[in-house]
């Protein structure tokens, strides 16, 4: 996983003065599972369609193996797509759907038969050859769509929220299956989703987007543990985002209390966003905590309890396996490792962040 395969250079997309993509730069490496993650309208699907050739960027270049492919139509790209709504051919059976690309490429009949049955085996749909797509469940239709794309052995597979229409349990199963398929066939997957959990589960690289900009590119661990700004922190998992002031390197002040942290490189007394993951807050006796608060609500979430704790100036969300009853005063303890400091990014303020700083 090293060779560069696709590169977007300063790609901009605009319709009638409305900028959908704002000069993005992106590099996709060979055989990696890359996820474009962001809320709806962030430009992730547009990015995918530009790579697939269904849209031309208003300006900027698309490079495939170093060659500019802006003007290459979709049917001439070594890229296949799995569409959001499956887009199966309802007038053909499952076999013919999967065989479509091979028939267009005029492969010999014997080869078509072999490759189609391999592809169907890969998506666990052996024996469904003669069925009509409309007689299949959503999950099965999605697998046909995947088989139809990978049977052509593309170098890149584009997936546009392919699991969006499936129920939660099926979606989780398919996430693992997709990851397995990707490792088995060894091709590059570019995956679009707004579901952060999906992105964390499957990806080698996550690209977080918002309002036509790329905010951060990194591995799931990097994105989760070291979000670059409050938006990323809030979008990837849940976060407490509180306004603070950097006193000096490795010391931040918020809620009238100084905390040691690990961050450096901020101006003295710079206003910053302080991000703390709900699961990083430790509940202790009120006298032992750095902060004190009162539990205002507690919800059982399965693996943990989700508690809202009011302090003087902020409402904290805490995830813990040990419940504290409503109305109880608790202490909260934060170690330097738990505190993430971010520059204030006014353009990409997450929803709710403004309320939180009140």
């Amino acid at each position: 996983m090293s060779k560069e395969l696709i590169r977007l250079v300063n790609c901009t997309m605009a319709y009638d003065n409305e900028t959908v993509l704002n000069s993005i730069n992106l590099c996709v490496k060979d055989k990696e599972f890359l996820t474009l993650l962001g809320p709806s309208g962030c430009g992730k699907t547009t990015t995918l369609r530009i790579i697939g050739g269904f849209q031309k960027p208003t300006s900027g270049d698309v490079l495939f193996g170093g060659v500019r492919i802006n003007d290459v139509p979709p049917h001439k790209r070594k890229i296949n797509t799995v569409f959001q709504k499956y887009a199966l051919f309802t007038h053909m059976n499952v076999f013919e759907n999967v065989a479509f690309g091979l028939r267009i490429a005029k492969r010999p009949e014997k080869e078509i038969r072999e490759r189609v049955s391999q592809a169907l085996a890969l998506v666990a749909l052996k024996g469904f050859e003669k069925r009509s797509p409309s007689s299949l469940s959503g999950g099965q239709q999605q697998r046909v769509a995947i088989a139809r794309a990978i049977v052509n052995r593309p170098q890149v597979l584009l997936l546009d929220e392919p699991l969006g229409a499936l129920d939660l349990k099926l979606r989780k199963e398919m996430q693992h299956e997709l990851k397995q398929i990707q490792q088995q066939v060894g091709i590059t997957f570019i995956y679009v989703t707004h579901d952060q959990e999906e992105a964390l589960t499957m990806s080698d690289t996550i690209v977080v987007m918002n309002q036509g900009n790329i905010l951060q590119i990194g591995t799931p661990t990097e994105i989760y543990n070291e979000p670059k700004n409050a938006f990323v922190a809030d979008f990837i998992g849940e976060s407490n985002i509180i306004r603070g002031k950097m006193i000096r390197d490795k010391l931040v002040r918020f809620s009238n209390c100084d905390f040691e942290c690990l961050d450096t490189g901020f101006a003295p007394n710079e206003d910053v966003d302080v991000v703390v993951r709900p699961e990083d807050v430790k509940i202790v006796e009120p006298s032992l905590g750095q902060l004190k608060g009162v539990v205002t609500s507690i919800i059982f979430k399965g693996v943990h309890y989700e508690m809202l704790v009011d302090t003087e100036d902020f409402q904290w969300m805490i995830h813990s396996t040990i419940p504290a009853p409503e109305g109880r005063e608790i202490g909260m303890l934060l170690t330097p490792d738990d505190i993430h400091i971010m520059h204030i990014d006014k353009d990409n303020m997450p929803e709710g962040a403004e309320e939180a700083e009140e």
């Binding site: 697939g52 269904f54 139509p73 979709p74 049917h75 001439k76 890229i79 296949n80 797509t81 569409f83 959001q84 709504k85 887009a87 199966l88 051919f89 309802t90 007038h91 479509f100 690309g101 267009i104 490429a105 009509s132 409309s134 139809r148 794309a149 052509n152």
Partner: protein, 278 residues
């Protein structure tokens, strides 16, 4: 349970007017046609009406041939039109649909009379031709004029069903085909055409059936020289040759021809989607 039964009965009740209507105006006349076809003037059972059919062979073949030509031309003109229409923006689509439907809101006879004045030997076309110093052409009272009349009157019935099927094809299906390597020619041949087949079949039915049985168009534009099945039947009931028994027999044969045609068509379109039958 009781309530369920009573509502069911109630619903049943509502169908009675239509059942009565059907019985009086559809089933009874059909029975009468069959009875007439198999009896003679004196009221005796006979097959004479059918054995005489051979002498009308020319009319049968002409009717079917002209209707077939009109249907094929309607398809060749209507399909591309429907395709172009389905691709336009919603505003333009509405305007064009309106323009296609507009003539249908005018009286059928009036429209056909209008064509007479256009095609006549001293009509619009020939006036323009002589104005330009060109020799006159005779169009009226030819088979061409009859086919023209059929196409003009029935083209909307070809365009509309095809259009309504085409607009329902999801653009992502077309993108998927392109994505899998199909060029625009292959996309049309392998995706759009098969998916629009139900519309094509109902278009063909809706043009062919009225064309094969028309008598106004052939009377007004064909000038009696090009008698069609419709004219022949009309003559037996209202015209000089008054013979309802023979007329019924011809009608029956025509019905059988149409039913057979439609059965063949539906065999073609055998799939999940059945063609809309008139």
């Amino acid at each position: 349970m009781k309530q369920h039964g009573s509502t069911f009965k109630g619903r049943h009740f509502f169908t009675i007017p239509y059942v009565v209507w059907m019985a009086i105006f559809v089933v009874a006349p059909l029975i009468l046609v069959v009875v007439y076809a198999f009896t003679s003037k004196s009221g005796q059972l006979t097959l004479d009406n059918f054995t005489r059919m051979g002498s009308f062979w020319a009319v049968f073949t002409r009717s079917i041939l002209l209707a077939l030509i009109a249907t094929i031309i309607c398809l060749l003109v209507g399909y591309p039109l429907a395709c172009a229409l389905a691709r336009e923006g919603p505003r333009l689509q509405r305007i064009f649909l309106m323009l296609i439907m507009l003539p249908m809101w005018m009286n059928f006879l009036l429209r056909t009379y209008a064509w007479m004045t256009i095609l006549e030997n001293t009509g619009l076309i020939n006036s323009i031709l002589s104005l330009l110093g060109l020799p006159n052409i005779s169009i009226i009272n030819t088979q061409g004029a009859v086919v023209l009349g059929m196409i003009y009157n029935y083209l909307p019935f070809m365009v509309l069903p095809i259009y309504s099927v085409l607009v329902k094809i999801d653009s992502s299906v077309i993108e998927a085909a392109q994505d899998l390597g199909a060029n625009s020619y292959q996309v049309f041949l392998k995706i759009i055409l098969p998916l629009s087949l139900p519309g094509v079949l109902s278009g063909i039915t809706m043009v062919f059936v009225p064309s094969v049985s028309t008598f106004v168009i052939s009377r007004l534009l064909g000038g009696g020289k090009n008698m069609l099945l419709g004219d022949l039947i009309e003559m037996q009931f209202l015209g000089s040759a008054y013979n309802p028994h023979l007329g019924s027999a011809i009608s029956l044969i025509m019905m059988i021809i149409i039913v057979v045609c439609m059965m063949v068509m539906n065999r073609f379109g055998e799939g999940e989607e059945q063609a809309v039958i008139l």
